[in-house]
């Protein structure tokens, strides 16, 4: 099955969204726990 250009753009947006969210979660983790295990 071939993806349409719109599908590809939406995948790009989704992956970019995840990438931003992962960075945000990493910052939250460092702020809350640093390198320590809770």
């Amino acid at each position: 099955m071939k993806a349409s250009l719109n599908d590809i753009v939406m995948l790009i947006v989704k992956y970019y969204g995840r990438k931003k969210l992962r960075s945000r979660l990493e910052v939250i983790h460092q702020n809350l726990f640093g390198d320590k295990t809770p």
Partner: protein, 161 residues
Amino acid sequence: METCTTSEDVAVLYEETFPAVASFVSKMGGSPEDAKDIFHDALIILFEKEGGLENPAAYIVGIAKHLWVRKFKHDKNRVDLDETIQIPEEENFPIIARLVRLVELAGKSCLDLLQAFYYEKRSAESIADEFNYSNAHSATVQKHKCLQKIRSFCKNKIPRL
């Protein structure tokens, strides 16, 4: 992203829930880094889930345990799991990951705008506020321009990837 949208909400949920996941992963022989990775995957699944939840903390812990067991399924002698939950692993699609990097270089502001609309599912009003558009209509017009720009970009790039 309807379940918790602000950084404060996410931080509260993180602080309340991560210790339970870290404890579970530790008991199963995983490292603190494993616990963090599994926990982040579980949070992404939560944020991408349509519709609200009564108890997002319980959902995250359940998903994190599920992901952990699935990750080490071969060591667990065929544990019966719900295969409908997709693990958010971007590295499984290297072409898309490469396109994301190229589009970021060519038009990061457009990607930021589109992810606010389509990934975070925020209202045009709140996006107009954050991105300094005069009103929701202007933000929506810009969204359409950005979609067009990225479509054209991909059309030119994809044959060369």
